[in-house]
Symmetry: C2
Subunit: 343 residues, 2 copies
């Protein structure tokens, strides 16, 4: 290990902090760990939760091994409107697919996607989208998928902000991730999006390693190439639909511990938030409410918008949050900053 | 954090070591990290692998995030003869099951198990065992399963050594686990055994946390109890058969990285060892050969024994190991000690 190795250096500094804590030094009043959050019930709930669960000798103390926090991605950690980015990716891939298989251009829903007719594309049904997702996410080796999707991630841009999708993460949530990790929580993404897709950028975008991404996953199949070298093929068969009840089920499969804190923004996160809150001791379940049409988007009960394909936040969900003691975060009121690039 | 917290203390000491390394101190010649291994090609292969992959600035260096080592459990980390311990658990549970459901006592294979006829039980077929495993591992909540299996683990004893099964881990492999972790490898169990079962003791037995256990896993189903409290039920439906090709497939699903080192002992580990060895750079694939009938058991090509229900190590596997550059470990020749309790 050399001092010129940045990760060694950062470990060394982290170690200085640990030693200081063990030996009883104090750095004085700590800086605000959540500067993009306005003071209010949501911010206070997060800080109190962390203080209660990490102060040894109290009844609320959670041992380090049990400190698991789970985060939905789309609409919770980054923008999901007007379309999930993994769906945008799938649509963008269709012309390439049609080059390789020209017969696709003649069949729906691929024909509509290739027409470029935005209004028609916006009207595609869920079964249509599933066909497109299956065609773009499966039928290729894991290595080929990784290469294709990685290239898209570095080149594609969100049409409103004209930036890579990975820039569109919420700065307040990045602060929550870092704050929890600084307090020895393990932070997991638990997403309805494709697990293999999110793993490509989770480390660089969120500081979350591949193995801490739980997502919708398909069967893979082991085989050998012409040189006898083994590889895995992504099969068009669902293994884990990591939405709704699939979230706690996926958490049990992949983590094996009930989260102490969970963050979501839609009905697809309901069971994860319930499951988390139902654990013993202090638990934190949080729902992000998209109510800022100026700085981001407003949908769900905030604007009484019609149901959309993404991020359904119903009145029933809001009512359950109130009843069950989840914290609802208003983007408009609780966040003084949405994106890191804004200033 | 207080000095009286043992984990904080051990972290502090680990930090002292890291700081010393970064600042250029040296503790002089390091103690042998593998004292239960005799000097020989197997021990040298492990030490050289670790040195090559963790020395910065060389072409063989593996970044810390990529340092994944996977271990089969039965026959690789602990004794699997004459029967996998999770199968012993399932058989031991049958009387309890029959108490709750008396009709079971009249149907096979439960009738045979309840007869106590050891010869007849030993002749149960794989489909028979699968029925018994399904009946003991599913149809109950994850919490109920955990409680039942945990109790068994603290009370059941291996008939030969008269000790809890968790004492029957191989001391040389415990040293490999610790040596790899000291060099910032993440050590995963990748087992054909039940994931939920192994997770109950992986931390205390191997220092491997629950989330680093990949095993055969069934579907769970989210639901609510009479008080509206959510829980998960273990369903009799297989999600991941973590044997053979299921091992690299499970590794992709749960870890998302190709291992740099893998350890196994049977044909069920073949694909994991191939997949590992086929990665770029330096890779270590190791096979444990059970050839010590005195101190443990001898089976597979070592004694030309007939095929058994467990740990099949065929001549074809041995030949592939030779051809593909895997290291075969002879328990008799390479290990000077088998169990921690022996001295």
């Amino acid at each position: 290990m050399r001092v010129s190795d940045p990760s060694a250096r950062s470990r060394a500094w982290a170690c200085v902090a640990v030693l200081a804590a063990v030996l009883g030094f104090s750095a004085g009043a700590a800086a605000d760990p959540l500067p993009s959050w306005n003071d209010g019930p949501a911010k206070r709930a997060i800080v109190e939760f962390v203080q209660k669960t990490t102060t040894p000798g109290t009844s609320k103390f959670v041992p380090q091994a049990e400190r698991v926090a789970t985060f939905d991605q789309d609409g919770t950690l980054w923008v999901e409107h007007p379309m999930y980015s993994f769906v945008v990716y799938a649509l963008d891939r269709v012309p390439e697919l049609a080059k390789a298989k020209p017969e696709l251009a003649k069949v729906e829903p691929f024909k509509t996607v290739l027409s470029g007719d935005r209004a028609a594309i916006a009207k595609l049904t869920l079964p249509d989208l599933e066909k497109i997702l299956a065609a773009t996410f499966t039928g290729r080796s894991t290595d080929a998928f990784d290469a294709e999707a990685s290239e898209w991630l570095t080149t594609a841009k969100d049409p409103r902000w004209k930036r890579p999708y990975t820039d569109l993460t919420y700065q307040p949530m990045q602060e929550v991730l870092r704050y929890l990790r600084a307090n020895r929580y393990e932070t997991y993404i638990v997403t309805g999006g494709g697990q293999d897709f999110v793993r490509l950028y989770s480390e660089t975008t969120y500081g979350i390693p591949r193995e801490q991404v739980v997502g919708t996953a398909g069967v893979t199949k082991y085989g050998y190439d012409d040189d006898g070298k083994p590889f895995l093929t992504k099969e068009p068969k669902l293994l884990l639909n990591d939405n709704d009840a699939g979230k706690p089920e996926g958490i049990h499969l992949m983590i094996g511990r009930r989260p102490v804190a969970a963050f979501g923004n839609s009905t697809g996160d309901r069971q994860m938030l319930e499951y988390t809150k139902a654990g013993e001791g202090v638990r934190l379940s949080m729902l992000i409410l998209h109510d800022d049409a100026t700085r981001e988007y407003a949908y769900g009960p905030a604007e009484n918008l019609p149901d959309t394909k993404v991020g359904t936040f119903t009145q029933a969900l809001y009512d359950e949050a109130q009843k069950d003691g989840w914290i609802v975060v208003s983007m408009k009121r609780d966040w003084n900053r949405i994106f890191a690039f804004e200033r």
